[in-house]
């Protein structure tokens, strides 16, 4: 069992708050959940438990193990494509983050049947933060969704319908180690799939959110001549898959094998032009070799322009620094209680094994030695301005002040 050095409870405005992170690589699911939870409980009065875990585990057993230590504390979590802790990235394990103390308050919610009612599900879980808490004026809505369920931007539109501009959104899409078959979402004592889970978190201290991706545009743009929702049918009036593979000179195996294509596409997303300098990135999750279409994890609007994107270790790490800096800015120079990272699996593909260890180390350093937790996602959620909030192949950092 590993854990970071003992934390000093931070007293601020009459409230005591703490943040703990625990992890486990034990093969036994129940034992792994128990070990990680035990490691994360660094104080009394836990208020919110967040679990990131591999779906190699028996999730009900893992959850039971967590609950042995956290009891009935509100809990959300999801399956991952790798977990992040202060000590570095890991696979096939579990990371547990616990926030506690009087300075925090939390409520959880779940909406199932996501793929059939994306917007409505978003509206349902957004209600978890409806009330304001004068004693804890800072709040954030933490969302973990099933990224395989459809256009995630619709989920966020539903959340925005209810929560409005006053509530920052942060979170990510659950993963399944790039199998792209089924992900899991955890809420309190239950394991779900095709769902969105949410935790409304109130605090006496500020939250900060940073978003950057580090991808660069390559070549001339293409016109999205036909698309429907998350499926791109044609680019420049040609079958989208053919244009994509040809422009990138993709290897032969990626042209015929689905798994190979996904791995190739991981490091070659699409970029959509937006108002901001950085284009929106679209993770290409799959290809239809019959229909010659591309399947993304969020909508690619017809009529728009799209670029092929590329990145390298340097650009990605620079994005890490930038995201972290943006997240820490609202804390006005004070060290955070901890950082939570929602890092796209695609960036992991660019960085490689050594690169992701470097990335996590940089996060931990920027966190001034405070705990870091997170997971590798199929999509990231971050909204502090504007009305959008869904990102692909991006790093989102939540700083808990």
């Amino acid at each position: 069992m590993e854990s970071v050095q003992p934390k000093t409870p931070i007293v601020r405005g009459g409230g005591e708050r703490w943040l703990g992170v625990g992890r486990s690589l034990l093969p036994d699911s129940r034992a792994a959940g128990a070990e990680a939870a035990s490691g994360a409980l660094d104080g009394d009065d836990p208020k919110l438990v967040v679990v990131f875990c591999s779906d190699d585990h028996e999730l009900p057993e893992l959850l039971a193990g967590v609950r042995e230590h956290t009891g009935g504390t509100p809990l959300i979590g999801c399956s991952s494509s790798g977990e992040i802790a202060s000590s570095g990235p890991q696979d096939s394990g579990v990371v547990v983050l616990v926030l506690g103390g009087h300075g925090f308050a939390a409520r959880t919610a779940v909406a199932t049947g996501l793929s059939a009612r994306l917007r409505q599900a978003g509206q349902e879980v957004a209600g978890v933060l409806e009330r304001e808490d004068p004693e804890r004026p800072h709040r954030v809505l933490l969302l973990l969704t099933d990224g395989l369920a459809g256009d995630q931007q619709e989920v966020l539109r539903g959340v925005y319908d209810i929560a409005g501009f006053a509530v920052p959104l942060v979170g990510g899409c659950a993963g399944d180690d790039l199998r792209m078959r089924q992900t899991a979402q955890l809420c309190d004592d239950e394991v779900h799939t095709d769902a969105v889970v949410a935790a409304g978190l109130w605090s006496t201290g500020p939250f900060g959110v940073g978003v950057h991706h580090g991808w660069r545009q390559v070549g001339e743009p293409m016109l999205v001549t036909a698309s429907s929702g998350t499926t791109v049918a044609t680019l420049d009036d040609q079958p989208a898959l053919d244009v994509y593979l040809d422009r990138l000179d993709a290897p032969e195996v990626a042209r015929t094998d689905a798994e190979s294509f996904t791995r190739f596409a991981l490091t070659h997303p699409l970029g959509l032009r937006r108002r901001a300098e950085e284009p929106d990135i679209r993770f290409i999750g799959e290809a239809d070799f019959e229909a010659r279409t591309l399947g993304c994890i969020a909508a690619v609007p017809q009529g728009g322009l799209a670029w092929l994107m590329e990145g390298d270790e340097q650009s990605v790490l620079e994005a890490t620094d930038a995201a972290c800096a943006d997240a820490l800015r609202p804390l006005d120079g004070r060290p955070p209680l901890g950082l939570v990272a929602f890092d796209c699996i695609a960036r992991r593909g660019v960085l490689g094994g050594e690169g992701i260890r470097t990335e996590i180390a940089r996060l931990a350093a920027l966190a001034s030695g405070t705990p870091v937790a997170g997971f590798y996602t199929y999509g990231e959620i971050a909204r502090t301005s504007g009305a959008g909030g869904f990102h692909n192949q991006t790093l989102v950092v939540l700083a808990v002040g």
Binding site: A166, R273, R275, P301, Q302, G303, L305, A387
Partner: protein
């Protein structure tokens, strides 16, 4: 840089256009427009205002749109304002042109930076696209309504045709009614149906003759309906379609249905010929249900077909009854004709073949019997001919009633004393032969069904445009037969002992009907009185004869 900006603007407009035209109706178009504009411009808030009212908003908690603040921002193209919980906000406003109506306003607000000139240009273009999309949605909505209405009518017509087909080849009236009820429910769906008819035994009341969707217990409760009550009662009295929506809250409705929260009812009169004979009523318990104009039209068509089917079925039934009566008549006549003929033939054959073995007394008896059978046969044939004559056109003439009565009674005096009383001296315009025949039958009937020594009286009364000729005899009407049955063919009282097959009164009734007169009978104490009523063409009374 300019190229890139232009490219970006063009792209955003193309995406905006695609998003709007995916929306299904005007409200969805407006909502999508505000939403996409806000997302494109990375604005936290967005709103569409029409005549000062916030039609759609984005970024605010539901019900918490600051209408005054938004209207203030909507008054200028670009502004800065403090928005609670957001802080300083830069706004941009453009007009949404609306055909023949005051323009709406699209307002966006964001906390990051003011809107540039390029962005304002894009926003104006977005507003133009939004206006076009709204108009298109409104036109499409109208087209969709029309298409939906046409589709509904087409489906109703198909169901109506099936229903009419199923009605048209059913003969018994009960089956026709049941088919109509079932057809009505199938036509409009999710309904119950009743057919009620005016009941002859209970004036002013309609009675259920067929239903669909009711249990036996429920039918007992709704079996009777007063004219003018509920949809069915009103449809009968008003002779038109009656539709009641929001049934439970309406006055004058049927308690049973009100208690069970019937949602709507529709009733139509059903005709036989030109006469309203009943109603067809449907109703639904489905919450919020109403019957659309197309459904009302379809039900009206069904009721029309039902009326025709009813008339056809009744006609068919009458024809079948008539055929059955004819078959029975022929069977019995055949039997009755054969009987005396067989006896006559037998006797004549005996006399022909065995004359030498027959004594003179036997011969005389046989000849007498044959004669009587021959007379009996003759009488029967006369009756049959008279009955047939009833269907032929009568030879109408004007004759003094006294003469007609005198001729009718001629020759009967030797059989019994027949008293004539107060025969008015009026002229009747009728078929004298038929009157004589009817009186003859009545007197023969009186002779046959009264004690031999008792008198028979024929009297008359004139007044009110008619004359009533009464034939009275001592006796009792058969209690087991109704008046109608008494005048039916081959119907005789159980105690009848006189010869005859029961055709006389039937023939009298047929002849009476052919004269457009009426014939009835009543029991007056220990006397039976048959009354023949004849219309008077003109009445000129001089003095009555005793």
């Amino acid at each position: 840089m300019e190229t890139r900006i232009g490219l970006w603007a063009t792209q955003q407009l193309a995406e905006f256009l695609a998003a709007l035209f995916e929306a299904e109706d005007e409200t969805a178009v407006l909502r999508a427009g505000v939403e996409r504009a806000a997302e494109t411009m990375e604005a936290e808030i967005g709103a569409a205002l029409i005549q000062g009212l916030v039609e759609v908003s984005r970024g605010f908690r539901p019900g918490r749109e600051p209408t005054n603040l938004l209207n203030w921002a909507a008054a200028v193209a670009r502004a800065e304002m403090e928005v609670p919980e957001l802080g300083l906000c830069f706004t941009a406003t453009v007009d949404i042109e609306r055909h023949d109506e005051p323009p709406g306003r699209l307002v966006l607000g964001r906390s990051s930076t003011p809107f540039s000139a390029v962005e304002m240009g894009l926003l104006r273009n977005m507003a133009r696209v939004l206006a076009l999309a709204l108009r298109s949605a409104r036109t499409l909505a109208g087209d969709r309504l029309l298409l939906a209405s046409m589709q509904e009518r087409k489906e109703l017509l198909e169901r109506l045709t099936r229903t009419v087909r199923s009605i048209s080849h059913r003969a018994p009236l009960e089956d026709v009614f049941d088919a109509i009820c079932a057809g009505a429910c199938e036509l409009v769906g999710n309904s119950v149906a009743l057919i009620r008819r005016l009941d002859e035994g209970r004036p002013g009341m309609l009675r259920v003759v067929s239903s669909h969707g009711f249990s036996d217990e429920e039918l007992q409760e709704v079996e009777w309906l007063e004219l003018g009550q509920g949809a069915g009662g009103r449809a009968f009295t008003e002779e038109r379609m009656v539709v009641i929506d929001g049934y439970s809250g309406k006055p004058g409705v049927v308690d049973h249905f009100q208690k069970r929260d019937l949602q709507c009812a529709l009733a139509l009169p059903v005709y036989e010929g030109d006469r309203v004979v009943g109603t067809l009523t449907i109703g639904s318990y489905e919450p919020g249900r109403t019957y659309s104009p197309a459904e009302q039209d379809a039900m009206a068509a069904l009721a029309e077909h039902a009326s025709l089917a009813l008339s056809d079925a009744r006609l068919l039934q009458q024809m079948r009854e008539a055929q059955a009566a004819k078959d029975l008549f022929l069977a019995m006549v055949s039997h009755e004709l054969k009987t005396p003929l067989t006896v006559m033939m037998g006797m004549l054959r005996t006399l022909e073949t065995r004359d030498e073995d027959v004594s003179p007394e036997e011969r005389q008896a046989m000849l007498s019997a044959a004669y009587r059978r021959g007379q009996e046969l003759l009488g029967l044939i006369d009756r049959l001919l008279q009955g047939a004559k009833g269907e032929l056109a009568s030879a109408v003439s004007t004759a003094p009633l006294t003469e007609v009565v005198h001729d009718a009674l001629d020759g009967l005096h030797h059989l019994r004393r027949v008293a004539r009383r107060r025969i008015p001296e009026v002229a009747v315009t009728t078929d004298p032969q038929a009157v004589r025949a009817v009186l003859g039958v009545l007197i023969e009937n009186a002779l046959a069904h009264s004690p031999p020594d008792t008198p028979i009286e024929v009297s008359g009364d004139a007044g009110g445009g008619e004359v009533v000729l009464s034939v009275r005899n001592q006796g009792l009407l058969p209690t087991e037969l109704s008046v109608t049955e008494l005048f039916s063919p081959f119907r005789r009282g159980a105690d009848a002992t006189s010869p005859g097959v029961g055709l006389g009164l039937y023939i009298a009734a047929r002849l009476t009907a052919s004269m457009e007169a009426s014939l009835d009978c009543v029991q007056e104490g220990d006397q039976v009185c048959f009354r023949l009523r004849l219309p008077l063409a003109e009445a000129r009374q001089t003095s009555t004869s005793a």
